[in-house]
Every structure is written in C-alpha cells, then in structure tokens.
Assembly symmetry: C2
Homo-oligomer: 334 residues x 2
C-alpha cells in the first residue's frame, strides 16, 4: 500500500507530522496474528486464508458530520469505525480476521491519531482482528475500513435463507443509539463527556461505543436461517431479509425490546419510534425456524445477551407492524 | 456492506438520486467471476480464495485536489482510482482478483457515477478484477479501494529480497505524469480535454490513465529479487527496496528512461528531474541478479514493454545517483 501519496497539487498548510510518521504511529499499534505472512510495509500485505473457509469481505465508511457528530472524540470515532465493520462480519457469522484502514485527516495530529488508535485497537484486539494495511491522506475527516472475516464453507448467515413461518429475532435492545442522537440534535447531549444522568449516559455509550455482536453471529451458524445487522433501523434492515428471501415479515411493535433508559428518557412512544426506525445500535436481526427456540435460549444464556422474538415471516412480502396478535412465536430470553 | 448509511445528522441538500440508487448503478456494472460465492448485496461478500496461494491486499485512497486536479473528468478518476491499486498488486507479482470501493460524493449525480464507472470498470474488466462490495457516502469527493490479488506461495515480489550486486530495473519511461502535472500547475494543460500538441497529449494520458504493470509483475515471479511500484518517484520508491533489503542503490541518472514527448516539452534537465523524483507513472522498479538479464530481455519482448537497467545495488545504504561509470549492468530492452 502507499506509504506517502499526498500529492501537493494544492497548497497544504504546514503540519506537525508527516504522513510517514502518522503511518508509523498506527503501524506500531498493529500486531501480527494468524495467517499474516507479511503485514504492513510492502506494496501489499500477504495473507494465508484458512482452508475450508470462505472469506467474508465488507467495507464501510464513516464521514465526520454525516455518520457521527463532528465533535466526537477520536477514541470514540476509532471504536465505531471498526465496530460498524465487525458488525457486518457478525451478521454473516464470520470470525473477524484482518482488514485495512483508509484514514483521511485534515491535519496530521499525533495526539488525534494516538487517541483514535486507542479506540480502534481496543476493539480490534478484543476480537483478534488485525490491521494489515491502509492509507493515510490529507482531506476532510473520513474513515474507511475493509474488513475480512472467515466462515466455514456453507455456514455463512445470508439474507436470502429465511423460510415462511420462521421466527424473527433481535439481539439486545433497540433504539438506544437513535435516542442518543435525538438528544444530541435537541442539544440535550454532549457527546464529548459523560452525562450526569445515568440514563442519558447509557444512551450516549450505546451511540458512541456500539458492541458488534460477533460471538452471537458465530453462535448462530447452523441455527439462523438469515441475518442482518441493524444499522439503518429494524424495519429497513428486516426489509432486506424479506426481499432477499422472498418472504413477508410481521413484526409486533410491542415486543421490540426497549431499554429502561430509553423509555425513561423518551417515554414509551418515543422509545418505540426509535427502536423501529433508528439505526446505529448494531444489534443483529435474524430468522430461525420455531424448532430452534431452545437452541437460541442456550445461546442467549451462554452469551448473557438478550434475544427477543419480535414476529414471524409470512408468505406475503414486505415488513408490516402493529398486529395485536402476533401468534405464538413470542419468546424473550435473558 | 452498508446499503444506506447516510445519517442525516446535518442538513443535506436535496439530491437527484438516493444512495441506494447510486449503489444500484454501480452494482449493475459489477460482474461475477472466479471465486465469488456471493457478490454485492449482503452484509458482506463471500469469496473462495485459491488453494496454494497467498492473498495480497492493498488499499489506496485518492482525494480530489490532493491526488488529482479537482476538474478531472469522472471517467479518468475512475480509471486512476483502480489503477493505483492494481499497480500495488503488480508490484507484489499478484494476479488481480477482487476488491471494494468506498466512494464519497458531495452530490448524488447519476451522470457522474456512470462516467466514473466507465473508467473504473474498463480497467477492472481488462484485468478480470471484480468489485465485490463497498460503500457510498455523502462527503467531499474521495475514493478508497481495497484490492485483493492472489500469488502462489513463495512467489510474491517483496521489498526485502534484493541482494548486493543485483541490477536495478525500471519499466517504461519515467517522469511523464510528473511532467503533465507540472504543465497543469503552470496553467499549460487542461486535463479535461485532449491537447492539440501530440507531445502534451501523450503526457496528459500518462497522468490520467496510468497503466498498471500487472502482466510484468506476474512475469517477474521467480526472476526479480525485489519490486515496488513507482508512485512517489524513483528515488523515494527505490529507497524502500534499499531500506527493506538492507542494501544501497546506485542509480545512473543518465540511464533513466525518458520519453520523447517529455524531453520535447521539458528539455533534458527538466525531464530528468521529473523522472527521478516525480511519482504517478506507476511503472515498476525491481531488482534482479545479473544472471537474469536474458530472462528479462525475453519478458520485455513478450510484453512489448521497455525494461531498462538503471543501476546496481551495493553493500552501502540509501540511494545515490550521478555516478559517471555505473558499471557493466546497463541494459536497455524494447
């Protein structure tokens, strides 16, 4: 990968660090690991994928002011940049392995890069994910990760496997990040410091430090019939399963799991609206045959993670909500 | 990968196309291919790497106004975005396979995206490289590609394999793109239309449509001892081989291959300066034992590509130029 491609086509103000020094600061935080034949520092990294596995590849970009408030602290940006990508791997049932980072920065700022790396590598190290390349360029703050995971042949969680009559499940609680964003938009939340109110602080953490459900994705291999991560809101993302699998989806809005803090801060109606249409929680939504409920209860208990059945797939199309009697599928674990 | 992650944290002006529609326009241009189990459209793509091969991974970003003049036509941006990444794969001796594109656009503009795709996929299709994922976001124009190639075990061209006494080679001619850039900076070149002067037009094409030396990289497996692509200038990039291999490099500046158009437009001194320190040509610089000269002559003839020996590696360190008697290594093919 490029080591120094900042072309001085246009005048750039003096900076405190060269691009090379910036890359070195990041490289110093990256670690070797399984399958890395050659890491950062050549024209390309060399990797040895696992035999008997597919490589899962995802790419997501975060832009300042679009995907996070411009004042967000660099450590939180670092965490979230990787989290949204690991979440996509989780939704495929893939084990995180390696990836690249394209970092565009308006100023070469060592303190900023170090803090960014604190958040980024805290999450990377927790999942054994290794940075094996990337590029640092001058420009408006933007962060693109391409993440690779590995999943045994035939065990990936795709969007197109749901069957009519499957249960629809979600992990954790929904709407928390959207609730925090709403508070921020209403000038009721400072994302740069802990909130005095414990409920607000809970929501702030859910927005800034989402937990990619990697272990859940791995546990769902062989259990779930389809899966997505919830980045754009339950209804929108479940819609991808419905479209991909050619089924309908009936969701009972009253069963969508809401956190206590979200209800306390926004009230029931506001909380429910966030949970149905808000993104950024990075929980998983998946389908499974009703015969897998006991398996899922065990997964929930083992991971200490709430799994909630919020509806069923149907012979129709699209996603509908608000049925008063959503059938016998309701389950609520953990 | 994300299908629609534009968060409306801040007010965004009305656009003519949604992000989904933009992605669909790009997806329609992508093709299936070897090793693609699942392409664009799920949380991640699924790939089946070749047995007995390493995966080569590189990532490069181009930002408007930094890596290319802001007025550059979208088709030229598309070509160059992929070319700089394929060039990194070439420098590893890897065969292009797949990759992702993170596209940040200030406005959703169908005509722009279509023209960008024209240039991008023209090069992709020429090399059998397949787009398998990516992300489209709102923001200043920026393009990040992560490209994967495949190279048989042990056959990769690394930076750390040069031996003392190896010949130093470069492909093609150097400095052409830097010459074009200099003309542009001096207001002597309009990058958006063909130049009336044939020499200037040659240089313009070299800047806008660099040819990644993919076939050369593959041919150098087993012949070259080390390789880099020249993105930052011969002296800088050869310096990576010298440092990585713990050797010195003596370059005879008078042997660095210059095109006729570059000499015609800039004169010999100007041309030589561009060739030594200008980047953006994306030619390969590599080392090989003197015993491989005949092999390289055959490669040059087969590919119809000029290969020039410009010096030798030494027991010293760093890169030096200007020796009057660079030794017996001079060869000039094609």
């Amino acid at each position: 990968m490029a080591q120094g491609r900042i072309r001085k086509l246009i005048r750039i103000p003096p900076v405190s660090l060269t691009e090379f020094a910036l890359i070195d600061r990041i490289r110093a935080r990256s670690r070797g690991g399984d399958g890395i034949v050659l890491g950062i520092g050549d024209d390309a990294a060399l990797l040895q994928p696992l035999a008997g596995h597919w490589l899962a590849v995802t790419a997501d970009t975060l832009n300042s002011g679009v995907h996070f408030p411009p004042e967000t602290l660099p450590a939180d940006i670092g965490w979230k940049t990787l989290a949204v990508n690991l979440s996509d791997l989780a939704a495929m049932g893939a084990a995180p392995a390696w990836g690249t980072l394209a970092l565009s920065l308006p100023h070469a700022d060592a303190a900023w890069v170090d803090a960014f790396a604190d958040g980024f590598f805290a999450l990377a190290d927790a999942h054994g994910w290794r940075l094996i390349g990337g590029d640092t360029t001058r420009g408006p703050l933007s962060l693109s990760v391409t993440a690779f995971g590995q999943v045994p042949h035939g065990r990936a969680l795709r969007r197109d496997g749901a069957q009519v009559g499957d249960d629809i499940w979600v992990s954790g609680t929904l709407g928390d990040a959207a609730g925090a964003l709403k508070l921020w938009q209403d000038n009721g939340l400072d994302v740069t410091r802990p909130a005095a109110d414990a409920d607000v602080e809970f929501l702030r953490q859910r927005l800034l430090r989402p937990t990619p459900r990697v272990e859940l994705g791995l546990a769902l291999q062989g259990i779930a019939s389809a899966a997505v991560d919830i980045s754009d809101g339950l209804l929108a993302d479940l819609g991808h399963i419905a479209a991909g699998s050619a089924v309908g989806a009936d969701v009972d809005a009253t069963r969508v799991p809401l956190s206590g803090p979200l209800r306390a801060v926004l009230g029931m109606a506001g909380a429910q609206a966030c949970a149905l249409s808000g993104g950024d929680d990075y929980e998983l939504c998946f389908t499974a045959a009703p015969g897998r409920r006991e398996d899922l209860q065990r997964v929930s208990a083992r991971l200490g993670l709430r799994l909630t059945c919020v509806g069923q797939t149907t012979a129709g199309s699209g996603v509908s909500t608000g049925r008063d009697d959503p059938g016998a599928g309701y389950q609520h674990f953990a």
